[in-house]
Amino acid sequence: MSLRSDIRALLTDAVDAYRGSPAEGILRQELRSVDGPLRVAIAGRVKAGKSTLLNALVGEQIAATDAGECTRVVTWYSYGPRHAAWADPRPDGGAGILGSIHPGGGGGGGGPVEIPLCRAPGGAPVDLGAYAAEEVERLRVELPSEQLRRLTLIDTPGIASLSTEVSRRSHAFLVPGTGTEEEAQDEDQDGDDGGGADAVIYLMRHLHTTDVSFLEAFRQTGLRGTAPAHAVGVLSRADEIAPGQAESIDLARRVTAGMGRDPRLRALVQTVVPVAGLLAQCGSWLGEREFAALVSVAGQPAVDGVPLLLSVDRFRAAHPRIAAAVGDRSALLAGLGLAGLRIAVALIETGQVTDASGLVAELQQRSGLPELRALLERQFTDRADVLKAQTALRRLDAVLDAYPIRSAEALRTRRERIEAGAHALAELRLLGELRLGEADADVDDDQREAMELLLGAAGGDVTARLGLPPDTPAADVHAALRAALDHYRRLSENRLAPRPLRRAAATLRRTCEGLLAGNG
């Protein structure tokens, strides 16, 4: 039986056991999401570019982005047949909204209210209408986007916001059950806020890892008991690292490489990649008309000796000799940013692109988005079952602790059995321990890296696990696997080795055996 079906069966029984209790809703929701898409939250400090990245990932201008702080409500973006949005009002108390992710699930309290989705450029895409942000528990948006078929994306308000209420909400969402007692009580009353994500994308825009407060914010949001396998870091706004320099993305890569070595960050995320959000999302709006405007700009690099792209104000000032209207130029600037504009104009000037689609492709290539997509695929989608299983078990634990009933013990025993039996979960746990320095495996850095790779830190396929190039011949892969298996078998049987190391080696040995079996 697969892990997923085990979990499904367990949750189904748990729902039966808790029928009529407030916990039923939570469990039902969890049960539904076992077969639903993976839930990935996007978290980070204020103005880190969370909504911009979300738009880029969805491929559509759907989340509002603005210079000031603008995401104030936790918003879920999931796949749906049409564009639609619902607001879940904050419950007045008692009943709570045990609403589902999917529309029509309904719940107590005010119940979800469909709200108009304004898609006019410039306006806030989601209009809260009569509701103030404080009254809304969360927003749910559905779009027919292919990208969302396998991932549900969750946009969260920024941490370290000057508005503490907004910060608190993010916090409460990302770290359910922590915080002050009062808040915890609030959450109890809510039953559950429907929060909890299977995986997290942390956005950071600061360049250096000793930014104590940023790590502090992340540490607080770091889902307790979760391993970095659940999280990847994104150095967002990568185009701003060296404003005005074309090689900004390359510089960003240098920065992220340094970040990846920091032990505190390693404990938090798998890896860090740079993404230039604005460049990444240009595909959703950049058409031939915009391209024509860019061409006219490229043809007139300077006005009265002043380069047009010297500053944002110069670029959008009235220049009678430039064909593109002021409004068009402002739109281009808003869409691409000054750094993006410089790259786009350079691409057009050098003749590397000749039409809008070519430009979009080039810009997206340079945005770092393809790498991020690949990373998400490797880290999240490929192991969606394991990640979801872990969330489900965590949820179940919380319910069992909060509502002890007679059959709780039996459920707990089954749950333990599943966890013990699923090697993927053991791998994930060991990986987390290694990353956090908790495994106490007395090994040097090289050895630890090899262990982490083998556990799937860089991806689940066999070559990635062995740290071999993807095109390695099968025979070599096989030989490497055998060598690793031998190594870990010996280690696990070595009575002189410290106990934690032997335990880790045993897990790794099973991994090798599994891979060998799969590899034929």
């Binding site: 000057l162 360049l207 000793t210 005005g244 944002v312 110069r314």
Partner: protein, 770 residues
């Protein structure tokens, strides 16, 4: 009206300037601009860099003014932009920079005419523009070479407008006249004091510290303001070493290092490139650079020469929770003003605003800079949001939107309007006219007070003699009175003088109180930390949180302790000054000079300073403390001058950053620890925290001790000198009166005439200090 000694200006453009010729002579707009530029300079140069010497003969330094206004620009790379453009750029940038805040030139003023270039034009590239002072005889100071063109311009006193309150050349020459007068009366002691005052006035510099989170463009801002690459700036690496930038005639760099175990920091001359390498790094590099206290860079730059010292600090992260926040705030405490840098990418964050609030408490003169406005389309919104945050936080600070790329382009391509758009000209004007001018004004008031007091002491002698000569009958009574005064003054110089006792006792008490305060605060922080470790369930995992909390607590304690130390010091100074004052008044050695002058004509009394002076940096803390004790201006001036001086030494400006690093290291060892026992982990976390506290507080203990010694020593010096001055005055009064007894009638008449002339001369001088 005061005749200004600096009636002429010499404007020398060094190099092979084809265009300087055009810029200066060719077109009318250029001429107008140059004239205005020169006028601006006549107001702005203010004797900075004048290294004039005065000797025992009291020769004012005007004769020997030195090249003060060196202005060097980096070579321009592009051949196309070389030549005319760059020259005009250099000139017009200077012009736009300085003209903004000047009142329009009076229409009827006799406008000076630049002379024509007598030299043939040789080449096209240029290197330097030097602007020199000439003395009133229009002497040419610089050496001419065949590649130089010099243009001499006369600026009449009338055309230059009324002398500004802070027209330093006038102030200096007046001070020189007082020094001369002191020399004439054989008062070497007063001369020495005034000479010191003069030096301070000439070198008066406004210390502006640049702070903010990292990667906000602090170093870029410094470079753009100065229009030269004084600081290293890099898109990826960041400033890790505090850097002090001051004026120098040629580029210099000094590394200030503090080797382990050395008593005092060592200074090493290094090249600018080396300095830049030292300054930049990733935060991890701080571990390797704990021995480096700071870098001092001297560059030739007009705005620095006008009396500005900039301190670029490593960025803080997360406000007070940053381990180095206390170090940065220490720098802020020693500064005259604070530039808080944030960029246009986002509004102020909560930690930023909290840090700013704390910094503004220490250094109330705050200027906010919003950088990178060329890059963020929404910068105007951010500007509004930030202004709102400041308003709500009760911080009264202007926000300047700035763009370094616009600045550089504007200057390179000779486009003044682009330069204006960059915001830097307005920013520079604010720094000059608000910050630098205020500092200068304060120094001037201190110097004025010294001059006034010296004149009173000098005047006492001829006045006493004149009184004796006038009425020989009273001579005996006068003599005995003067003898009593002399005896009184003598006792003030002895080690048993009342003020000495007060100082000794007070300083012992202060030492004890400060030490108690320090250990109490340390204990409180330590206890708090231990408690938080004790209740922590997972110190290894939550170390970052513990660490930030510890840093924040520690920073707050350190700041509170320093506030206490300064307040104690100021209170001690007030007590000593009050005792001294009572004795000084009782001795009656120094007459009240204002009583000898006609009533003031509507000018505010020296104590009626505008309120801003009362809240100006650390010097103000001191002078305020003294003022509240109803003490006359003289000791206030002495002590507040000291208070302001105390920050001048580099040591407190570039405070050591060593302690901060320990926690980062501790973190690594803790995480790598093989101990899985909670109690063992707690013990380890406690040890790491205690180590950090120990290091940080042993540094603080040193700082505290040094500061106390400084205060002690300064008070001893100030009042010992003052007592000696009084004794000299008393003795001289006595001798001159005694001499008058033996005089014949004829001698007496001649002497009275001579004395009258002397008195009226001193009075004329004194009147100018009203």
């Amino acid at each position: 009206m005061v005749t200004r000694p600096l009636a002429g200006l010499l404007f020398v453009v060094v190099g092979r300037p084809k265009v300087s010729h055009i810029a200066l002579n060719g077109r009318s707009w250029a001429r107008r601009r140059t004239q205005r530029l020169l006028k601006a300079y006549s107001k702005l140069t203010q004797g900075a860099g004048q290294t004039g010497s005065w000797g025992s003969g009291g020769c004012p330094s005007g004769q020997k003014s030195a090249e003060g206004m060196g202005l060097e620009r980096p070579a321009i790379g592009d051949a196309a932009s070389r030549g005319q453009g760059t020259h005009l750029a250099a000139l017009s940038s200077v012009a736009t920079q300085h003209l903004r805040w000047l009142p329009p030139p009076p229409r009827d003023a006799r406008t000076p005419t630049p002379l024509l270039d007598p030299y043939p034009i040789v080449g096209r590239s240029y290197r330097k523009i030097y602007i020199h002072h000439a003395d009133e005889n229009y002497k040419v100071v610089s050496v001419r070479t065949s590649h130089e063109v010099s243009v001499e311009v006369s600026v009449s006193t009338a055309a230059a407008g009324p002398p500004a309150a802070s027209a330093s050349p006038a102030v200096l020459s007046l001070l020189d006249a007082v020094i001369l007068e002191a020399g004439r009366h054989g008062r070497a002691d007063l001369q020495a004091r005034l000479a010191h005052e003069r030096e301070r006035l000439a070198a008066a510099s406004c210390r502006v510290v640049v702070v903010g989170e990292f990667k906000k463009g602090k170093s870029e801002l410094v470079n753009a303001l100065l229009d030269m690459r004084a600081c290293a700036a890099d898109p990826v690496e960041t400033t890790v070493v505090p850097t002090l930038i001051r004026h120098a005639t040629s580029s210099t760099a000094t590394a200030i290092t503090e080797p382990d175990g050395a008593a005092s920091p060592a200074r090493t001359r290094i090249s600018l490139a080396e300095a830049h390498r030292l300054m930049l790094g990733t935060p991890e590099d701080i571990v390797d650079r704990t021995a480096i206290r700071g870098v001092e860079i001297g560059v030739p730059c007009d705005i620095l020469a006008a009396g500005l010292t900039l301190i670029d600090t490593p960025g803080v992260n997360g406000g007070l929770a940053d381990a180095r926040a206390a170090v940065t705030l220490q720098t802020v405490a020693d500064a005259d003003a604070l530039v808080f840098v944030s960029d246009a990418s986002q509004e102020y964050s909560a930690p930023e605003l909290e840090f700013l609030r704390r910094a503004a408490q220490i250094c109330p003169v705050v200027v906010c800079a919003l950088t990178k406005i060329d890059f963020y389309p929404q910068w105007r919104n951010i500007l509004d949001l930030d202004r709102g945050h400041l308003r709500r936080a009760g911080i009264d600070a202007p926000v300047f939107p700035l763009s370094a790329p616009l600045r550089h382009h504007g200057l390179r391509a000779a486009l003044p309007e682009i330069d204006t758009e960059s915001g830097y000209p307005a920013f520079a004007v604010h720094i000059r006219s608000e910050l630098v001018e205020h500092c200068r004004e304060r120094a001037r008031r201190d110097a004025d007070e010294g001059a006034r007091d010296s004149l009173a002491q000098i005047m006492a002698e001829p006045l006493a003699e004149r009184a004796a000569l006038d009425d020989p009958a009273t001579t005996r009574a006068l003599l005995s009175q003067l003898r009593a005064a002399e005896a009184h003054a003598q006792t003030m110089t002895s080690a048993t003088a009342r003020w000495q006792r007060t100082l000794r006792e007070g300083s012992t008490r202060m030492q004890r109180r400060v030490a108690d305060d320090l250990s109490q605060r340390l204990r409180a922080v330590e206890d708090e930390f231990r408690k938080s470790v004790e209740i922590n369930d997972d110190p290894a995992r939550t170390w970052d949180e513990l660490y930030a909390g510890l840093c924040e607590q520690n920073n707050r304690a350190l700041m509170a302790h320093r506030d206490m130390l300064e307040a104690e010091g100021a209170a001690l100074a007030r007590r000593v000054a009050a005792v001294f004052q009572v004795d000084e008044t009782a001795s009656g050695v120094v007459p009240d000079i204002s009583a000898m002058l006609p009533p003031a004509c509507g000018q505010p009394a020296p104590d009626g300073l505008d309120p801003q002076f009362r809240t100006y940096g650390r010097g103000a803390l001191w002078s305020n403390a003294l003022r509240s004790g109803a003490i006359s201006m003289m000791p206030i001036h002495l002590v507040s001058a000291f208070g302001a001086l105390a920050g001048l030494s580099l040591a407190p400006l570039l405070a050591p950053a060593g302690g901060a690093v320990m926690l980062v290291v501790a973190h690594r060892t803790l995480r790598a620890s093989r101990e899985s026992q909670l109690s063992a982990q707690r013990a380890q976390a406690r040890r790491a925290g205690e180590n950090y506290l120990q290091k940080s507080w042993s540094l603080e203990y040193e700082h505290s001790k040094r500061r106390q010694q400084d205060i002690d020593q300064a008070l001893v010096n100030i009042f010992t000198d003052r007592a000696a001055e009084l004794a000299t005055s008393a003795r001289r009064n006595l001798t001159s009166v005694a001499r008058s007894i033996k005089a014949t009638d004829a001698e007496r008449r001649a002497r009275i005439a001579a004395l009258d002339a002397e008195i009226s001369r001193i009075r004329t001088l004194a009147e100018r200090y009203r």
